[in-house]
């Protein structure tokens, strides 16, 4: 990446963040428990001691399969969830510091159909937040919205329409315009292009990169699509069942993945240049986060698992400058 996007300061930092969701007992279950039945609360360890930082100007890709906790981590990052343990810091200050100061982080959601209020006009969807927060004087909101729509490649006359009048790709652009309306420094994109067709997806990805240059944005880009992450990111964080298993610069990760899970993940990605290949699958599926396996979470599926892997969870350690991996094989 170019020199002007020098990465120095840590903008968003996760410090040993954990998030557990507890399903509380309902009235019937409480009664059953009082009568002596074996009922316990269910706890899901969605995110388990995750630490990493995103530097100013960087694009960090967060990959993993469903249920690995990547979306929960994204929501923790912009303060939609409170961590059970640990801290989320923005420029060194907790995102929950309060004092009327919200960190300049915005989120872009996966479903361009569910994330726009169907009964609001585009002008209101995009213009509401900057008006309420007093970023733009009331009289100038219309012009401000028109500018934003143009910036994301939409016609300014669309402001009077409703979401159902737009295609999926256009809705994705509206979601981006809404996020940009409050002048964020940091965008968290949660599967922001997953619902789009290939040709539209390319348009939106290009838009993300243009905005990054024009506005100096920093991204945490959450996706299950390794091709997309490879294209956009400077660094990649790989999660498995709530834990970070590997962090590496994008080129290094794709050239020589260290963790057996990363290796398996890269091997499974279908590629156009591999024609009529024989698929060799990795065995098993992601275990339930309600009952994760002991030790390294990946050991039941790992081709190189040892006795130690079932007993002891490997720590995330630096294996080379800028490269981190959580695997006993590196000892």
């Amino acid at each position: 990446m170019s020199e002007k996007l020098r990465m120095t300061e840590a903008l968003l930092e996760f410090r040993a963040v954990s998030k557990r969701f507890v399903k509380r007992l309902d009235a019937v279950e409480r009664l059953a428990k009082r009568l002596g039945a074996q009922v316990t609360e269910h706890t899901v360890h969605a995110v388990d001691h995750v630490s990493f930082a995103v530097a100013q100007g960087e694009v960090v890709g967060l990959v993993g399969e469903s249920g690995c906790g990547k979306s929960t981590l994204g929501r923790l990052g912009c303060g939609l969830h409170r961590p059970t343990e640990g801290e989320v810091l923005y420029r060194g200050v907790s995102v929950f510091a309060g004092g009327g100061r919200q960190p300049p982080i915005q989120m872009i959601f996966q479903d361009p159909f569910a994330s726009l209020n169907p009964r609001m006009r585009i002008a209101e969807i995009v213009g509401e937040a900057p008006r309420v927060h007093g970023l733009v004087p009331k009289a100038q909101v219309a012009d401000y919205v028109a500018d934003l729509l143009k910036r994301v490649g939409l016609d300014a006359s669309y402001a009077r329409r409703y979401p159902h009048q737009f295609s999926g790709g256009q809705r994705a652009r509206i979601g981006i315009a809404r996020a940009l309306a409050v002048k964020p420094e940091f965008l968290i994109c949660d599967e922001a292009v997953a619902a789009l067709d290939v040709s539209i997806q390319a348009q939106v990805l290009n838009l993300f990169m243009d905005l990054r240059e024009q506005l100096g944005l920093t991204y945490l880009f959450i996706s299950h699509d390794l091709g997309v992450v490879r294209h956009l990111s400077n660094r990649v964080v790989v999660m498995y069942l709530g834990r970070v298993v590997e962090i590496a610069p994008t080129a290094a990760l794709f050239a020589s993945p260290n963790h057996p899970y990363t290796k398996a993940l890269l091997a499974e990605v279908p590629r156009i240049d591999r024609k009529r290949r024989t698929f060799v699958p990795i065995k098993g599926e992601i275990p339930s986060p309600l009952a994760p396996p002991p030790g390294c979470h990946f050991h039941p599926r790992c081709p190189q698992a040892m006795a130690r892997c079932a007993a002891e969870a490997p720590a995330l350690r630096e294996i080379a400058p800028g490269r981190w991996s959580a695997c006993h094989l590196n000892d």
Binding site: N206, P270, K275
Partner: protein, 328 residues
């Protein structure tokens, strides 16, 4: 083996839906053939008509939709306009379908055993015990561990990948001649998708079934299929051997699709994007549907090009891209 090599011939298939805003022509004259044991990838973006083509083959189009014309010949029999009774005898027996969402195929209030035994008994007169043994064997074949236990369970006790395996096991119970799979791995994780692709590839080879794999993912097709047909706005725009079509596309749309995949732009700052968006099928202008987005479009494109042979492939374009030095 039975009969000729050709298993399925779809000729000028037209399927339309009556909507409030007029007649929506979802499939407008699709023609292709499929040999026994062959794997065809049917690729396109949303609204291209790829799924409707798959559903039309099995006669699964309900009002307000209807098959407006064309023919589907399966092993010599005409399926368009065939009596429902004859289609029922084929469905699940000689032609099976696998859907994107396995919950669409599985009944949530019946055990897997009930559903599988029912499928066997619907087409064959065997004892319950024999049907149960077949079901056990089928579950084992798709890689489900401890099938004895799993057979007694209900769909909600299975994970997404396991449910899709059950759906595949049901589809393969009668060793069908043709399997139509509509985006069966789209909702699954990459590692699980890899497993399902592996099982499917192995099973269709063992059973000798032909397979139509409907997807928007070119990369899956590249690894799995023998032939590929690319659809755009209800028509096939390019069809041929996978290596040829994906290796050197002749239609500007196929080229554009391949170019917009991030994996084909490694190191590039920007992706090559196709401008504009897919046209509404209700307001389709005459001529080539892709011309609004095509950089090669000329006046001639106002007339619909035929799906014409170009070497071993077929392409619907007045100005096909040069695929080799000697093909202009």
């Amino acid at each position: 083996m039975k009969g000729s090599q050709v298993l399925l011939e779809v000729d000028n298939l037209q399927t339309e839906f009556a909507t409030r805003d007029g007649v929506l022509r979802a499939v407008q004259g699709v023609s292709f053939g499929l040999d026994r044991g062959q794997i065809l990838g049917l690729v396109g973006e949303s609204g291209s008509g790829k799924s409707v083509t798959g559903f039309s083959i099995l006669g699964l189009i309900d009002p307000p939709g209807r098959i407006a014309g064309g023919s589907v010949r399966f092993d010599g029999q005409e399926l368009v306009g065939a009596p429902e009774q004859r289609l029922r005898a084929l469905r699940g027996k000689r032609i099976a379908m696998i859907f994107q969402d396995p919950m669409m195929t599985l009944n949530p209030v019946l055990s897997v055993e009930t559903q599988m035994v029912e499928t066997v008994l619907a087409h064959e007169q065997v004892s319950r015990q024999a049907a149960r043994d077949r079901a056990l064997d089928a579950l084992g074949r798709v890689g489900i561990a401890s099938p004895q236990e799993r057979l007694a369970q209900y769909p909600h006790q299975f994970s997404g990948g396991m449910r899709q395996r059950v759906a595949i096991a049901i589809a393969l119970l009668h060793n069908p001649d043709l399997v139509i799979a509509d985006e069966p791995t789209t909702a699954l994780d990459v590692t699980v998708q890899g497993q399902i692709l592996y099982e499917m590839q192995k099973l269709v080879r063992e059973v000798g079934s032909a397979l139509i794999w409907i997807t928007h993912d070119l990369a899956v097709i590249a690894g799995l299929a023998d032939r590929v047909a690319v659809m755009y706005a209800g028509r096939i725009v390019e069809e041929g051997a996978v290596d040829e079509v994906l290796g050197a596309p002749a239609h500007p749309y196929t080229r554009g699709l391949l170019d917009s995949v991030p994996a084909n732009n490694v190191g590039a700052r920007r992706l090559n994007q196709i401008p504009g968006m897919t046209p509404s099928l209700l307001k389709l202008a005459p001529g080539c549907a892709f011309r609004e987005r095509c950089k090669y479009a000329a006046e001639r494109c106002g007339q619909m090009p035929e799906l014409a042979a170009l070497g071993a492939r077929r392409v619907r374009c007045h100005f096909p891209l040069a695929v080799t030095a000697n093909v202009a």
